[in-house]
């Protein structure tokens, strides 16, 4: 009787081992397949960016160049004015990110912790902001900044309205007023997160005599680090990649590298007389790698905090 039981147990163990193995195998296959779909083209781009002219036309060459060259990178760096452009773009997106994190966390905190009249309606407006795409309202915003005249102040001091287009100022104004790139989403994330924090934290701070602002900056924001990291990375990455706003506000490609890269191939074929599209495409590939690189480095450095952060960040209520 006892022996049978042991045998039965062993059988079950073996079955569950096989099940686990099959599941792992299935997972491995699926993950490998999808990783290939994602990484394949990137590997292709990296490989191609080292191709020499001969390699590009040699049908025997697949991914591994026969005579690798750094020429593509040299010219792409020169024509992108890489170091200066990348530096300015990073400065631009990091400063916007800082403003965005500050404003959106404040607004999210206000919605999460304070009761005021019309709160439900106003929060519905935040949701509306997420849902309504920017494209619906791009024209009025374009017009607003083309003739920028808040309350008639510009006309009062300089005699005419100011044209803020082709400078990054509109972007800063919109972000500082909580209407920047996907601000609605970030407000939502912060709101969810602050709602999940225990009320006792603030009560203790209040009893100890901390002011509202001290409580917010030194206590609540510190507790919200996972959310802050999540929003910061989202914000920076999207800002760095954004071409919609920079196109709309005619921001110079010299401070928005993702806009500059779109014309790189054209620039190189015009200026350097690389008229063969197959060859000029190789320069574009090198440019793409250069553009991805800074953001990739930031992401790899922060990705551990990021993915752990998202899990605790209040995207999930």
């Amino acid at each position: 009787m006892k022996k049978e039981l042991i045998l039965e147990n062993d059988r079950k163990k073996i079955i569950s081992m096989i099940k686990n193995f099959l599941f792992s195998l299935f997972r491995l296959i699926v993950i490998a397949g999808i990783s290939y779909v994602i990484l394949g083209p990137i590997i292709g781009i990296i490989a191609n960016s080292f191709f020499s002219d001969a390699d590009a036309y040699n049908p025997m060459v697949y991914l591994l160049p026969q005579s690798p060259t750094l020429e593509r990178y040299r010219l792409a760096i020169l024509r992108l004015d890489y170091w200066s452009t990348a530096g300015k773009t990073l400065l631009y997106s990091i400063s916007l990110m800082a403003v965005q994190v500050l404003i959106c966390s404040m607004v999210g905190y206000g919605f999460a912790r304070y009761n005021f009249p019309l709160k439900k309606l106003l929060f519905a407006c935040v949701v509306v902001m997420i849902v309504i795409p920017m494209h619906t309202i791009m024209l009025p915003i374009y017009v607003t900044f083309a003739k920028f005249d808040p309350l008639g102040l510009c006309t009062l001091f300089t005699g005419s309205s100011k044209n803020l287009l082709s400078t990054p100022v509109p972007m800063y104004i919109m972000t500082a007023l909580g209407c920047g790139l996907r601000s609605g989403l970030y407000i939502y994330i912060f709101n969810q997160f602050f709602r999940g924090l225990p009320k006792e934290i603030e009560e203790a701070a209040f009893v100890d005599g901390a002011s509202t602002w001290y409580t917010y900056f030194r206590i609540m924001l510190v507790n919200a680090i996972p959310s802050v990291i999540t929003v910061a990375i989202f914000s920076m990455v999207w800002q760095y990649n954004d071409t919609f706003y920079s196109k709309l506000f005619l921001i110079s490609p010299d401070i928005v590298i993702s806009k500059k890269i779109t014309s790189l191939q054209q620039t190189i074929s015009n200026l350097d007389k690389v008229l063969d599209p197959t060859i000029s495409q190789l320069y574009a590939y090198a440019g793409i790698i250069l553009v991805i690189l800074p953001i990739l480095i930031v992401y790899i450095a922060l990705q551990k905090y990021f993915i752990e952060g998202v899990e605790r960040s209040g995207i999930v209520g």
Binding site: R27, G40, M106, V126, P133, L185, I292
Partner: protein
């Protein structure tokens, strides 16, 4: 003058307003006012005046009528965009749920895999996407390969052969079309589901482990556990994901591109506003219907 003493509630609601003040101002200036202006534009004929200003002349519904009756491709692009959305959204939602469940279990290299899955989100600028498409075609064999040939070349199977086989088996052609469309856009679906996967992983981790223990003790199979525990528990986040997917998909759709070109290439602001408003209205209706549908079936734990 004696200062009037405020009650704590009033004080706190004022502080609350102070916190949301920047956003409130921005919303009123940029969103509310702009929406009204867009509606106004769509009912007018806009002529750009010398010196950067514009003159508007009220023309009633003329822009809308033009878009629907006379414009060369508006209706077509609109239906394709909405159609693509209806194909993509369920696929992305279920794909990302499946992936989140695969990635939620502990295994070696999990962090790396999650990082890879999130890569498309990092690289979603227009130029990069274009280059990736080029590179993908190149990998599949030559720049001339179209996407259908590509799928065949990459996997070594003739897609059309299977399509014909299934249609001769009597599978309804609507279902078959959907499956073919889904397979043809597998790349788009994978690259559009980075954020959704992360949201679902977070949702899965917020399910208390005790619920799985109970299910196990009661003798539920893995299949039952999924439908009775996991699925109801992630249901609220399905709404979040569907909304995110719809909005994201719409922002990248052809119809938006078209409205943009109409405004800035053809300098027809009135028509462009009408197009934007029509497409936004359609998307909002879809969102309301879908959310209402899911909400009714959603189980809230708390």
């Amino acid at each position: 003058m004696k200062k009037k003493k405020m009650s704590l509630t009033t004080k706190r609601s004022i502080t609350g307003y102070v916190f949301i003040l920047p956003w409130l101002a921005g919303f009123l200036i940029f969103y509310l006012r702009s929406l009204i202006m867009t509606a106004n534009f769509s009912l007018s004929e806009i002529t750009v005046a010398v010196g950067g200003g514009y003159d508007s002349k009220f023309v009633g519904l003329q822009n809308y009528l033009y878009a629907f009756r006379a414009h060369g491709s508006f209706k077509q692009v609109l239906t394709t965009s909405v159609g693509n959305m209806l194909i993509d959204v369920p696929l992305i939602t279920f794909f990302s749920l499946l992936m989140a469940m695969l990635l939620n279990k502990k295994f070696k290299g999990r962090t790396l895999v999650r990082a890879i899955f999130f890569l498309p989100v990092i690289m979603n600028s227009a130029a990069i996407t274009a280059a990736i498409d080029m590179s993908r075609q190149m990998l599949a064999g030559g720049l001339s390969a179209s996407s259908a040939e590509m799928a065949g070349a990459a996997s070594g199977v003739n897609v059309m052969y299977y399509v014909e086989m299934f249609s001769s088996l009597g599978l309804p052609s609507g279902v078959l079309d959907y499956i073919v469309a889904a397979v043809a856009r597998i790349n788009d679906i994978i690259s559009a589901s980075g954020v959704q996967i992360i949201i679902f992983i977070a949702a899965l981790q917020s399910i208390p482990g005790s619920m799985y223990e109970v299910a196990k003790i009661e003798g539920a199979t893995a299949y039952e556990t999924f439908w009775k525990v996991t699925f109801p528990m992630v249901m609220p986040h399905i709404i979040t994901n569907v909304v995110y997917t719809v909005v994201d998909n719409f922002a990248n759709s052809e119809i938006v591109e078209m409205a943009y070109d109409t405004a800035f290439t053809e300098v027809n602001y009135g028509l462009s506003s009408a197009m934007s408003l029509v497409s936004t209205a359609i998307v909002c209706v879809i969102l309301v219907i879908v959310c209402g549908f899911i909400q009714k079936r959603t189980f809230y734990y708390n």
